[in-house]
Amino acid sequence: MSVGAQRDQHTSTFADGVRAGIPFAVAGGLLSISFGVVAQDAGLSAVAAIVMSAVVFAGSAQFAAVAIIAQGGTVGAAVAAAALVNSRFLPMGVALGPSLPGGAAARAAQGQTVVDASWALASRDDGSFDRMILFGSSAIQYVAWTGGTVVGAIWGDKLGDPETLGLDAIYPAFFLALLLVEIKSRRALGVAALGALIALALVPFAPPGVPVLVASLASLVGLHRSAR
């Protein structure tokens, strides 16, 4: 069963989420191996790299923070960069909120499970979210992300340079595969193109993370006429 067919069922279980998340977990695991290597090149210990993956669990923010440390930046600058890169979780959380049950604290706790792939997998065409798909696919990705970091942090020096192996291409390729699943209409294609243009136009001027955050405004096209 394809990922698309699975998430259209409205009675998904946690196990469905785990299954839907497996390909992304494998890809994320490869990526986190390179994180384990890169983090140590930046001066983090193997244990620190593993702990960071286990408690932060946000790939792009971790890469951004570690890159700043590697360039000799301060901890404050690294944390600020991580916050900016993660700022896309603001609109994602706003989108997800109405689909979560419980009080504000319960929703905030459930919101912690959001990562890009699980959020995209859980999104339904009508703008609502399937939270069991979200939880299940995040869980398997968490295991793979942390496990991959362990591999990279402990055995990374035997792998060689992550760039020689092309591991840096995994992250954008991962999101491109996710994007192709999401493009189901001409309108979605147009919004994707607009989002890409906005982000590219801002890259030379804005700090990392901001171009992606501002690109989310492309979705306002949905206000125009029939929203579906």
Partner: protein, 97 residues
């Protein structure tokens, strides 16, 4: 410090959206915007990762690799195939350039 700070800001950002909005019905127009947020954000992530190097726009071996991976994802719907082809093509282009 670094790890604690990153963990804290990530958790805070992830908490704000669901806390602010939830438990209420939102107009259809809002849902239309939400449904289009994934393509907008994902496309932005792809191009900033594959076409930019810091604050410069740059085509590199990874651009070729990601393009090849994208073709695989499009033709086969395999995410694992996509990332593996992307890595292999990037490594090959880098090796010969």
């Amino acid at each position: 410090m670094l790890i604690g700070g990153c963990a804290l800001v990530t958790a805070a950002i992830k908490a704000i959206g669901p806390m602010a909005l939830g438990g209420r019905e939102l107009p259809d127009r809002f849902n239309g915007v939400i449904a289009l947020m994934a393509p907008a954000l994902l496309a932005a992530l792809v191009v900033t990762a594959a076409l930019a190097d810091g604050d410069r726009l740059a085509l590199g071996p990874d651009t070729a690799g990601v393009t090849a991976g994208g073709l695989v994802a499009w033709r086969t719907e395999s995410i694992i195939g996509c990332v593996i082809v992307a890595a292999v093509v990037t490594a090959l282009v880098r090796a010969i350039s």
